[in-house]
């Protein structure tokens, strides 16, 4: 058997895991790994500008591909700079493996140069973590790390690798790499309990006012076909969470868009009034539920989730089903009988007509208009990433995605600065797709340095900055709930984003008039080698509506003051259906029993 260094073993293990990209930043404690990487040309290393960027890129890559994203950083500040990125992945259940360097084992605990307790720090924000103590343990630990990250409820796993462990040399046979290891204390449940599934089918049969509430778990398990089939067969309308976007084509007549704080009024009305809530891979986040004792208060709850700890964590559940969403839905579909559209469907359609998602089509360049245009010009095909703030909610409302893994956003943690590095990870995975990062002027500046990474690797990501020269979401809260005391939300002082783009070697554009939005987007999409930053200068004062104030119930939902006039002007092509059209849609469903 040949002698291998720990660093070589590590890279060989990554190769066997099918790792295409490592997002990383070198430093003293990982020098042996970077030295070994020099000879491992089939794994492409992406040199970032800040470790947080590496974590978000690995995360974006994982969200878009469904594979495990990998990042590699040094000890101390390298590891601590990852924390926001790891926490982001943890909150949204994203499989990444983060490799951190560590000081020599003999120096651990002595406050050595660039030493931090990466295990201790990352414990609350990882699915699991490891401190490697011996070179011999590398293959087992790496195999377990990947296995844990991608199976069950996915999540980030951190492996801390001391310098002497990666330097150590041992005899090793790479054919012995234990891919898909067996961990006796870790056995996720994939198949749902049959009795419970039958009960759920019965509850669906008996329900008068059912609603499907679909979350990120459906995206993670690749259950779009099953969700759609269930909805079509039963005529149960579907609302998704922010993470669940794409679990059903949002252009499908059965889609109600997003629910919750900034969800559509009709989705929220539907959930509020339903008598059966079928929660599919969703975790009842407080941004969804608002005031708990008012949330779906007339409903029986079916909850399908792979993580048993999610069931009953926030709301009471009548029919719990632990298992993989796709697997469970396939089982459920065996028992669910076709069901006609009912008065309830008609009621929801009426709400859709009364409380549409609209903005003024007055020729002004509203933020919503920009997003609508991005949707139209990209024909709804772009992979969209976002930062966090108003632009994110507008993007969630107006970019109607067709498929899972097409809308990539930081849901649980709400990480500003997530969008651009995530877009880099996405574009590397899908070089031929149009990748648009819808960002805010505040969010963009949190990780702006990664623009250099995009330029160096010739990635044609489009960053659409919805620039309202303000920390818009905070501004909105201050306006609505803090007596318009605008404390520290003014971002008038920002760099000239066009010049900034140019100084990085990217393309910069500024758009201030509505008629220039489309040409700018078309020009940006024609670029195949360079990132494009488009500074869309939009009004400062606009708010995201609908809005349910934090911790309140749907009765406190705020709609646009001008909704009445806007409703009259709703156009019937594409985005909104007239009531007559809706009735037509309903009739179709009644007349043609859904496919078996």
């Amino acid at each position: 058997m040949a002698k291998w260094s720990g660093a070589q073993i590590l890279l060989e293990c990554l190769r066997q895991e099918g790792v295409e990209f490592i997002f990383g930043y070198p430093g003293g404690a990982v020098l042996p790994i970077y030295d070994a990487l020099y000879d491992y040309r089939d794994i492409k290393h992406i040199l970032v500008r800040h470790e947080q960027g590496a974590a978000h890129m690995a995360d974006g890559y994982a969200r878009a591909t469904g594979k495990v994203g990998v990042c590699l950083v040094t000890s101390g500040p390298g590891a601590t700079n990852l924390i926001t990125g790891i926490a982001t992945a943890q909150m949204d259940s994203i499989p990444i493996v983060t490799l951190t360097g560590q000081v020599r084992t003999t120096n651990i605990g002595k406050d050595a140069f660039q030493e931090t307790d990466a295990i201790g720090i990352s414990m609350p924000i990882t699915k699991h973590n490891y401190l490697l103590k011996r070179t011999e343990d590398i293959p087992r630990v790496i195999a377990e790390a990947f296995y844990i990250a991608r199976t069950g409820r996915p999540g980030p796993v951190l492996v801390d690798i001391p310098l002497d462990v990666s330097l150590g040399k041992i005899e090793w046979d790479p054919s012995q790499y234990p891919k898909d290891p067996d961990i006796p204390s870790y056995r996720p449940t994939y198949k749902g309990h049959e009795m419970q599934i039958r009960k759920a089918a019965q509850a669906i049969k008996e329900a008068k006012r059912p609603v499907l509430y679909v979350g990120g778990g459906a995206v993670q398990s690749g259950a779009q076909a099953e969700v759609t089939e269930l909805s079509e067969r039963t005529n149960i309308l579907v609302t998704t969470t922010l993470m669940g976007k794409g679990a059903i084509d949002e252009n499908h007549p059965n889609s109600l868009g997003m629910l919750g704080m900034h969800g559509t009024a009709y989705a929220n009305h539907a959930v509020h009034n339903c008598d059966l809530l079928i929660a599919v891979g969703a975790r009842f986040d407080d941004r969804v539920t608002g005031k708990l004792d008012q949330f779906a208060k007339y409903a029986k709850v079916i909850h399908i989730d792979i993580d048993p700890a999610e069931i009953g964590k926030v709301v009471h559940c009548d029919i719990p089903i632990v298992g993989d969403v796709k697997t469970v839905l396939q089982e459920l579909l065996k028992y669910v009988e076709p069901r006609p559209a009912t008065e309830w469907n008609r009621q929801i359609m009426e709400w859709k007509r009364l409380f549409p998602l609209v903005y003024p089509k007055d020729g002004q360049m509203h933020a919503e208009y920009v997003i609508d245009e991005i949707w139209r010009v990209t024909e709804g095909n772009a992979i969209v990433t976002t930062g966090v703030g108003q632009h994110q909610m507008w993007a969630a409302q107006y970019y109607k995605v067709k498929r899972p893994r097409q809308f990539i956003t930081s849901g649980g943690l709400g990480t500003m600065g997530f969008g651009m590095p995530a877009a880099i990870g996405v574009q590397l995975a899908f070089p031929n797709e149009t990748v648009v990062c819808i960002d805010g002027d505040g969010s963009f500046q949190m990780t702006v340095q990664e623009l250099m990474t995009a330029v160096v690797y010739e990635l044609p990501i489009i960053v659409a900055i919805i620039n309202n020269r303000s920390l818009g979401m905070v501004r909105q809260w201050q306006e609505l709930f803090w007596s318009e005391r605008y404390s520290e939300v003014d971002l008038q002082a920002s760099p000239d984003f066009v010049k900034l783009a140019e100084s990085y070697g990217a393309i910069g554009m500024r758009v201030t008039r509505a008629e220039d939005v489309e040409p700018a987007l078309r020009e940006a999409m024609s670029q195949r080698k360079k990132p494009v930053i488009i500074d869309f200068v939009v009004p400062t004062e606009e708010n995201v509506y609908p809005m349910i104030p934090s911790g309140q119930s749907i009765e406190q939902m705020m709609l646009r003051k001008d909704l009445e006039q806007l409703r009259a002007s709703v156009d019937t092509d594409g985005e909104q259906w007239s009531f007559a059209e809706q009735e037509e849609i309903l009739k179709q469903f009644v007349e043609q029993p859904a496919r078996q």
């Binding site: 295990i119 201790g120 414990m123 609350p124 699915k127 699991h128 401190l131 844990i148 961990i183 006796p184 204390s185 870790y186 809530l277 708990l292 004792d293 008012q294 949330f295 779906a296 208060k297 007339y298 409903a299 029986k300 709850v301 993580d307 048993p308 700890a309 069931i311 009953g312 964590k313 926030v314 709301v315 009471h316």
Partner: protein
């Protein structure tokens, strides 16, 4: 009906968790409790007959929902092999206490008698103190400590409860 259910009555539960005997497991378990706002009344850990596996006995208080979450969150930890929640009388619970009590000559025979009633053992005799070792359920130790209080307890150390199912059942 969705929404949070009414908080039920609080119970004390004894939970045992079999965990892999790895460094840091205790930190994971303790951290989990702290992060999620669960209160631990006691936590005792030691290795089992299998050196690869440790046994943690956790006494926690809460209503049924809290206890259910504790059990589920414990199970979620990768290194946790099995979690058993013992409700009253299904398990034998024992705790060991060391109690250093003031023992003036006039009180000595009385203290010795009391210790005997409780099947305690005096394991050290000082000029003015006894060190008494006592095992039993937490109630028994509480009761003994109450009896010793008038003499003046100088120091007391308790291990926390360890528990095991009655009969042939194993965790």
């Amino acid at each position: 009906m969705a929404g949070i259910t009414e908080n039920g009555r609080e119970h004390q539960h004894t939970i045992t968790a079999l965990v892999q005997n790895h460094p840091g497991v205790l930190a994971r378990v303790a951290g989990l409790f702290a992060r999620r706002g669960f209160n631990i009344e006691s936590l005792a850990v030691s290795v089992t007959e299998n050196p690869e596996i440790s046994r943690m006995t956790i006494v926690a208080r809460g209503d049924d929902r809290v206890l259910e979450q504790i059990t589920k969150q414990l199970n979620k930890l990768i290194e946790v092999i099995r979690v058993v929640d013992y409700v009253e009388h299904t398990a034998v619970e024992r705790e060991l206490a060391l109690i250093k009590v003031n023992a003036e000559p006039k009180d000595r025979s009385e203290i010795l008698q009391l210790a005997e009633v409780f099947r305690g053992r005096v394991i050290d005799v000082g000029e003015k103190t006894f060190l008494i070792e006592l095992t039993g359920g937490p109630d028994k130790i509480d009761a003994f400590a109450r009896l010793m209080a008038p003499y003046g307890i100088r120091e007391m150390a308790r291990t926390g409860v360890i528990a095991m199912a009655r009969g042939t059942k194993t965790a």
